[in-house]
């Protein structure tokens, strides 16, 4: 009597589960930040995901299978984190395109932050008839940071770009590790002044008249 050999079940791929899990975590975090005020702690989450991916690869290696897609994803995440650490990129503050338009001078003096994307701070309405001095700081991890100020406001900018460009009115600096102070003409005699600390990890800082 012959005994039927049951067909072999394909062994589960840990890489596939982890990859699926990663996509869900990223998507859920992004969705949460979009629809609510929740700040997802990307700065801690991303390295944790890399560790989980590494462990999954080691465990999955026992099956003898190659997992090139998973390795490529790990390399991409490592490069992103390496750029972030090397050039002081912040991943806090969310992802996407954001426009901040304070309407009163009192609303101007605060800290703005965005992880990845474009952040525009439009101060033309808030400082239209303003007098006196104010301070503001803003930071973007990867992307563009734009600040629009009325022409009568004198600006002094401590501009930083880990890798990229800082453009303040007519002046521009670019390269790696850009760090400079920019003072607009007429700053000393202006009735309204704005001192800003603007920083981008990778990307551009732009200050122009609105």
């Amino acid at each position: 009597m012959t005994q039927a050999i049951p067909p072999q079940q394909p062994s589960p791929r840990p890489g596939r589960f982890v990859l699926g899990g990663l996509l869900i975590v990223f998507g859920a975090g992004w969705f949460l930040e979009t629809v609510s005020d929740v700040d997802v702690p990307w700065s801690v989450l991303l390295p944790s995901l890399l560790i989980i991916m590494g462990l999954a690869l080691v465990v999955g290696a026992r099956s003898g299978r190659r997992q090139p897609g998973f390795v490529a994803l790990g390399i991409a995440l490592t490069v992103i984190l390496a750029l972030g650490s090397g050039f002081d990129v912040t991943f806090g503050g969310g992802v996407g395109r954001r426009v901040e338009e304070p309407t009163t001078p009192a609303q101007v003096g605060r800290e703005y932050q965005l992880g990845v994307g474009d952040l525009t701070i439009d101060l033309t309405e808030a400082l239209r008839d303003a007098e006196g001095s104010r301070e503001l700081s803003a930071k973007v991890g990867i992307g563009q940071l734009t600040v629009l100020v009325p022409e009568h406001v004198g600006v002094r900018v401590e501009g930083k770009a880990g890798m990229g460009q800082v453009t303040v009115l007519e002046e521009q600096r670019g390269g790696v590790g850009v760090e400079d102070t920019f003072v607009s003409r007429g700053y000393g005699s202006a009735t309204a002044t704005l001192d800003m600390e603007l920083e981008v990890g990778i990307g551009q800082v732009v200050v122009r008249n609105g």
Binding site: S43, P47, I51, V59, R65, R66, G74, G86
Partner: protein, 59 residues
């Protein structure tokens, strides 16, 4: 039946990701400052080790 042979390249990359992830986590928690001038040579060394270990044939 033969046991499937462990994929050394996956082990090498996996260990590399674990070590890199721990380093980045320590950096983000302000325990250890990862700077570009340390990081880039370290990444090159790790990539070299991964290539060597991954290419080595098993017994």
């Amino acid at each position: 039946m033969d046991e499937p042979r462990t994929n050394r390249a996956s082990v090498a990359f996996g260990l590399f990701f674990v070590v890199a992830g721990i380093a980045f986590l320590l950096d983000r928690l302000d325990v250890w400052d990862v700077r570009a001038r340390y990081l880039l040579p370290a990444l090159l060394i790790a990539a070299g080790v991964a290539v060597l270990v991954g290419g080595k044939r098993g017994p």
